[in-house]
Each structure stands twice: as C-alpha cells, then as structure tokens.
Symmetry: C3
Subunit: 194 residues, 3 copies
C-alpha cells in the first residue's frame, strides 16, 4: 500500500479516507500481519502514521524532516500522540522536541531514535522489504500478542478519552488567536516557497 | 554463589530449587547486601536472572547472546518481565526486541543497555568483584531503600497479578498449537547442534 | 537572575528564600516565559534546580560535577526527585546513579543526558542566551501548554504527597543513625579540603 498525493503527499481528507478504507481491508485480510514501513518527509501527520508502524526507514535526503512541529503552528500535540512520542524516543527527548516543534533531518532522527534506519533514497524500498521479512519471520500469534502488550495501555488511554480530546481540539483550534497563528504559519511557508 | 549445570547451564528444576534455597539463605544472612553479577550466554531464563541484578557484566565472547527470545518459541514474555525489560532498555528497544525475540551479542547488548560492561572472558570475575565493591561502598540502608524505591512499583504489580499470570501461562502453554510451536523450535536447535 | 553565594554557592536558607521570592516575582511578570538555564558544579540541591529547568548548559570544567549523591550521605532522594531524574535520564541510568550517588563530570553528564550542552566556561553565558532565544522563539501559549502536558503528572504527584513526604523526611533525617551518617560525610569533605 502506497500513499501518493504529489507533490507533498499532504494528508487531505481524500487521502485519509483512502488510507482508512485500505487499513480496514487489510484488517479483514487474515493473511495481513501488521508490519508497515514508511519513508520520506513527515512533519506532523506523516510522523503520526510513522510512529504507529512497527519500524521506520527514512531516505537519507537532506531535504527530508520528520517530527511533530505543532507548537510552531501555535497548537498542541494531543496527549495520545505525546504518549507515543515518549514511547518511541523517551521522555526528555520528547519534552524538548515537542516544546521546540523540532523537525529532525535524517541523521538526527536516527540518533534520537525516531527512525530505525536511514538509507540512500534508492534503497528505501528494498530495505523496507527485507526489514518486513525479518518481522514476518517471527511466529505471528506471539508477535502480535507481544505488540499488543507493548501498545495496549497507550491505545486504551486514547480510546477512553477520544471524545473529550476531539471536542477539546475542535474548540481550541476554532479560537481566533489560534486561527491567526495557523494563518501566520501558512503565510511563512508560502513565502519560503515563493 | 555460582550457578553450574554444564554444558549449557540450563535452568533445570534442580538448579532453580538450588538457586531459591541459596537466595533464601542469603536473605537471612544480615551481612548480605543484595548485589549480584552475571556473565555468560543468557537467553530467556538467564536474562531474567540478569535483569534482576544490580549490574550486569558480560564476557566478550562472540558466541554469547543475551535477551528474551520468547516470540521465536511461539510464546509471550509475561508482563512483569516486559516491565523489567522496559525499565532496563526503554520502551522502544523493548518493543522491537520482544517482538523480534532478539538475542544480543555482547557489543549490541552493551549498546542497547542490556548489560553494563563487556570485558574479556578472563576478566569477568575480577570486574564483577570490583564492581560489587563499588556498590557495597555506599551506605547500605540508603542504597537498599533507593533500590526499593526504583523497583517497588514493578515488583508490586507482579505480586498483585501473580496467580492470574501463572494460570494464564499454564493454560496458554498447554495449548496444542503452542506445544507444536515449542517442539518445532526445539527441533531447530537440535538440528543446529547436530 | 543569578544565584551567588561564594565560594561554593551553597543553598543556604537565605539563598533559597531569595530564590523563592525572585521566582514569585517572575511568575507575576506576564512577560516572563519560563526558560531557565544553569551552569557550574551542582550536587544534590543544585541538580534539583537544574532538573526543573527547560535546558541545562554545563561548563566544561573537570572540577564540576552534577548529580544526586544522597545515598553517599546515608539519605534517600525523595520520590518526586526520583521521578524527575527518571524523566530526564531514563529508568536504568537513574537506578544506577541514585543507588551509587553518582556525581557526573561534564562529559559523562552530557552522555547520560543529564545536561544538554557542555561548553567552555567562558561560553556558558552566551550559549545559555542563544539557547534561551531558541526556546522563546516558539509561540508561548503552545510551548507552555506542551510543557505542562509533559510535567503535570510528576508535579501533581509531588503536590498530592507533599505533606506526607515532608514528615517522612524530617523524622528520617532526625534519627541518630542518619545524623551520624551525615556527620561522617561532612567530616570526609572537610578532610579532603584541609
């Protein structure tokens, strides 16, 4: 399964809907066994998807960045994303990266533990495939129960507080000050490109 | 106290009984102060004992491996062992190592933080002794209360759920599919040696 | 704001009172935005203040040490300090450092993650200032809410158990055996200097 929305693969509503439908199909496919890889530039939404994978491979392209830059937009990463960040790179690195809205270039992403491998761009696919083979070589049932044991607490907390979190986010993001902050960030991005 | 059951020091019922008796004797010996070291090849059970020590010294022998390879046998590390793994090497490293059933060679075990020192095989004993001296130089009472503060939450959780966990494990491991999976693994080990 | 109490900047009652008053003034100053830096030798109390900062810069002076050496004095770091240590350097490093009462020289402090930067002594001020500028460039509101999200659980636990913890500490530290242990440590320090 590949996500394509050139030129920047933005997570439009269409792309997200397509992703959800594809994931639901995969869940119903009993031969599917849950290992997903990712590569490319992943700020915010892209990073969320990457964090939910078993393993992350990033192309060694100096233009790529991965991380959660919510604060730079004047907004706040939700608690369940923070939990997943802490699970992946630890408490102190998360505290610093979330406050500063850090987007890590490949070498730094590898060092902080946000990705597992950094390889030349033309080897991303093959590395992903051989990595996937390594995970799928483990007896399925045991691997899946183990994954569940590792991620259940975080996922349960998200499910338990999902409605409150959604309402919070909607009311927060609709405030005038936040809308202005988002607009200012978009403007900055536009100027950088122009 | 040394554990010896040549050639592989397998944790037979006899050896475990001997270990428990020795530990109970040590607990009653008021001069004993709780620092244990370990070395050698430690998959699964050996790794559990190592994780419960204050400090781990591993011989730099390319044949040695340490880690929790339960998934490769088709079984699942219990929650209390997972908790201890996370306390020792962190959440992300545990997630990956537990799912893949990784057994780490000495250099990798050191890098991931599963052992504290890797030394030439003939220096394991002396390193262990000088390391032990370093721990025992700290005022006992303060050191033990501090250790308790660090490990109590994990130990309490184990005690609270011990019976349920034991029943779970017994019923899980008695299933036909799991017995077949264990047999297949044993067969693979036998072929590798043969 | 600078803390000065030459020659060793000991946290006397006077200095602590001055610090608390200054922090209260800063809290009432709406332009203040919560980033504090630190440098210099920081055993125990100095390390506590450093841990509560957003970022830590240490001078590369071989005489400087940072860490929590409570066990060496025969006393125990309180749970809220342990929590903050674990948040900063992880569980295993905290377990070892708290039990051994480790005071880290600059290079080791950097490696374990207890400080974020080690720079020549004459660059501490300028590094601190440029680091502070980096944090304050992030939209305030979002950064502060994010910081709150990261530290609230630990702070709440401290507040909830503050009275019990204070009583515990006072009764513990007034014991004859602990007073003797503290005296012995002071004596050792005096001899080293004499």
């Amino acid at each position: 399964m590949k996500l394509r929305n050139p030129p920047v693969n933005a997570l439009s509503l269409e792309l997200l809907t397509e992703l959800v439908i594809s994931l639901e199909k995969l869940e119903n496919d009993k031969t599917f066994r849950g290992v997903i890889l990712t590569s490319g530039a992943c700020p915010a939404g892209g990073c969320i998807i990457a964090l939910s994978c078993d393993c992350r491979v990033l192309a060694d392209n100096p233009k790529y960045r991965i991380g959660l830059n919510e604060t730079l937009l004047g907004i706040i990463a939700p608690f369940w994303l923070k939990d997943t960040y802490v699970n992946t790179i630890g408490h102190r690195a998360s505290e610093q990266a979330l406050q500063l809205g850090s987007l890590f270039p490949p070498a730094e992403a590898l060092q902080v533990g946000l990705v597992d491998q950094v390889v030349p761009e033309d080897q991303v696919q093959s590395t992903a495939r051989s990595e996937m083979a390594r995970w799928l070589a483990v007896p399925d049932h045991a691997r899946q129960l183990t994954k569940n044991m590792m991620r259940k607490a975080t996922a349960d907390r998200l499910l338990r507080q999902r409605d409150a979190d959604t309402q919070n986010f909607v009311s927060f993001v609709c405030r005038d000050s936040i809308q202005k902050s988002l607009q200012a960030y978009m403007e900055k991005l536009r100027q950088r490109k122009g």
